[in-house]
């Protein structure tokens, strides 16, 4: 059995699956049930000066019949008394000493931060997570993403936390910035032990087209909310990877955003995360989803020869490069397996209308053919094909050695490019 235990910035947990700070970590009984179900850690629902929430609060984005493929919310931080939160944190930690208990905090003044860092640690927190991410409600009050979007403010508050805390400090970053790297670096300068990302993305989930009000509706109006769930995974993966490959950064990362199964977790880990956090999938299906996450990850590690999570972390980072460093002479063409083809011709429509007009119907057959001399190897046909492994992208062998754009512009003679295809010129 591979070893699933992890260490993120000094916070140890029996497996890399943590609940993100959100409704699933709202109370002691919830987190205790989650730990029983197998979750390795939990980031408690953000503590701060208790607030009032609106109703309704959540919106779901159905994509192709999949309900909640994207999800958004306009809820704020904890609305429960701080006393109750600290009491339940202590109780939960006492019952589950080996699980990671991270307390998420969002306060305004230095004194408040000092007080609540102390109380969190007294309650048994193994680590703190500074919520610099909430994109609605709290930022208008100068907290949440208002902090996360200003590197100087981020650095200052992180440095207070580093000063007051005796346990590791994680800074939770907002994705509502154009480049994540300066924000990760600010957290590092402030003294963070790790970062977690992403928090939710500023969004309007939809519009009630009969009432003329955006959703989720609060009486006759709505507001922008935070987007999350499976749909945001590509954005989260990019931000995690951008920090993981930044040489000056080097802090451990807890990856968040659209983790719905073990494959998603593997992707985050390969791009540099040492733990992953989950909110939406648990909100949609319950704590029980962790069983397959653990089981599927173990099986993946077993079949790929990984003995520990450490061996996996960042394995795909070297494969993530700037566009200018990709090999322009690498040539792929699409091949259609005529025996597998069911004749839907989605690939014909896609290639004709959306790519390079090189898949053609044949007389007397529903199976189309690829004109390989024109195929640019873009993947579109493979993406639309409903049959697994019917269309494959195959490498074309040729004599032109690899050359990247950066090499070619620097020295076109020694780094020539192969003839261009598909431009119908």
């Amino acid at each position: 059995m591979p070893d699933l235990s992890t260490d993120t910035g000094g916070i140890r947990s029996p497996n890399p699956f943590w609940l993100a700070s959100a409704p699933p970590t709202n109370s002691g009984l919830q987190v205790q049930r989650a730990f029983e179900a197998g979750w390795g850690g939990a980031v408690w629902k953000t503590l701060g000066t208790p607030i009032r929430n609106v109703t309704s609060r959540f919106g779901g984005h159905s994509i192709g019949g999949v309900r909640g493929a994207g999800f958004n919310n306009i809820e704020l931080i904890t609305d429960r008394p701080l006393e109750a939160n600290y009491r339940e944190i202590a109780e939960t930690k006492r019952l589950f000493p080996d699980h990671a208990m991270i307390v998420s905090l969002m306060f305004e003044t230095r004194e408040e931060w000092k007080e609540h860092i102390g109380r969190s640690i007294d309650a048994g927190a193994d680590g703190l997570e500074l919520n610099f991410g909430c994109p609605h409600g709290m930022c208008e009050r100068g907290m949440g993403s208002a902090v996360g979007q200003e590197p100087a403010v981020n650095e200052r508050i992180t440095s207070w936390a580093a000063e007051f805390s005796t346990v590791p400090v994680i800074v939770k970053l907002t994705p509502n910035v154009s480049d994540i790297v300066p924000h990760g670096l600010a957290a590092k300068r402030g003294g963070a032990d790790a970062v977690s990302l992403i928090n939710t993305i500023k969004s309007i989930i939809g519009v009630d087209i009969d009432r003329f009000v955006p959703e989720p509706r609060v009486g006759g109006a709505s507001t922008n909310g935070g987007y999350c769930g499976s749909a945001v995974k590509p954005i989260a993966l990019h931000m995690v990877a951008a920090l993981a490959r930044e040489r000056e950064f080097g802090l451990p990362i807890s990856g968040i955003g659209g983790v719905a199964d073990w494959r998603d977790a593997v992707e985050f880990i390969l791009l540099g995360a040492s733990t992953v956090q989950v909110c939406t999938e648990v909100m949609l299906r319950g704590y029980g989803v962790v069983e397959d996450m653990i089981d599927g990850l173990s099986e993946y590690m077993r079949t790929h020869g990984f003995e520990s999570i450490d061996q996996m972390v960042g394995k795909a980072v070297p494969g993530f490069r700037e566009w200018g460093d990709l090999d322009l002479n690498h040539e792929l063409v699409a091949k259609i397996d005529a025996d597998a083809c069911i004749g839907c011709q989605l690939c014909v429509a896609a290639c004709h209308d959306g790519a390079h007009q090189c898949i053609h119907p044949q007389e007397g057959s529903r199976v189309p053919v690829v004109d390989e001399s024109e195929c640019v190897g873009c993947n579109l046909c493979k993406i639309v094909c409903p049959v697994e492994e019917c269309i494959s992208m195959e490498t074309v062998e040729h004599d032109v050695p690899p050359a990247t754009w950066n090499q070619h512009v620097a020295d076109p003679v020694h780094h020539p490019l192969r003839p261009k295809k598909g431009s119908h010129g």
């Binding site: 199964d261 073990w262 494959r263 299906r285 319950g286 029980g288 989803v289 069983e291 397959d292 089981d295 599927g296 099986e299 049959v387 697994e388």
Partner: protein, 447 residues
Amino acid sequence: MTTPLPATRSETAFGDFKLPFAPGEAVAEATRCLFCHDAPCIAACPTAIDIPQFIRKIATGNDRGSAKTIFESNILGMSCARVCPVEVLCVGSCVYNDLDQPPIAIGRLQRHATDRAFAEGWTFFEAGPDTGRRVALVGGGPASLAAAHRLRRLGHACTILERGTTLGGLNSTGVAPYKMRADRSIEEIEWVLAIGGIEVRTGVEVGGQGPDDPSLEDLERDFDAVFVGAGLGADSALGVPGEDLLGVHGAVAWIESMKLGEVDLAGVERAVVVGGGNTAIDGVRELLGLGVASVTMLYRGTPERMSGYAHEWTAALADGARVEWRAIATDFEGTDRIERVRAARLDDARRPIDGGEFTLDADLVLLAIGQSKLGERLAALEGIALDRGRVAVDDGGATGRGGWYAGGDCVNGGKEVVNAVAEGDRAALAIDAWFAAGGGLRKGSGA
């Protein structure tokens, strides 16, 4: 261990009635599963497999984990995927039945994961550390196999005592070949026995007259606990004239000869199957499938009252079955061989209607009116009580005599393979708990 099956078995004429999923199909179907909370399908499964979890694992590409989830609760999960009447169990309880969409094909998904486990040679369980305890299992059917496997996981040594030459009980010799052929059952048994430490003795009848047959007292002397999974007895007889003519068979006996060997149907064009239960319907479909042109079921009740499942009967009708409702056989006629069945029509109170006599020509008759109960033999032991021929047990499968446990058809009167597995499993846990509390039949073995 078991006699090899001949390749020329009549049952090999049958293909699978419910086809396996292609891999892409399985994932698409699994993705439809809602992952219900406190899922009704789990409650409907006698072995309480965590169905939403195993289906989710198929959806995420974790077939190995999926198979493990299934086998954790039901070690005969491969058979059950094929032979369970899912229409009235898990699938029948799927919440999609209350929506305008078809229920999840749970049986076929279970088959997908378990077939994959067999094809890949995956194994999941190891024997527990040796406890020095020995358990005898009477009969080698599904109940005993499930009990033995669980007992081995808990570290107790097991000996299966089987009267016949084949293990698997009716799962090998009875279930319709279009659901599962005997070779699949035998393959599964080898996989189950691979856990090690299960001694198998075939050709020995507990309580029988043979020189090697152990008595009930022998078991009490040599073992620390006994599990009885002896199933049911022979086909019941109708008690009407001509029952001993050639060509009149007990249905279960005939099905066994069709599954393990060859049956000669040369010249058989018309057959009559007496009964209205699932064995009768199986017999009808098997005869039709083997090419008998006209097969008529003769049942004393009405369609609403038949104990055979509606979905099975619908399939039989689609195969071309004929039926006489409210009818009983009164005479079997012929010289040496059966030639015709004399029958009488019944009224609502099941009394023959005057002038309601009729005749059916028949070259073959199967009697599927039930199996006898085997319990009597056990009743010789003080403390073991019978309830209408069934062995009476408590919730854990314990009989009234210390150290004696029972499960499967001999306890429930004849249900499904999955019930036998559930009852064998629960008895194994009860035996383990009894040992832990100091119980043990052999002198000096207890605390």
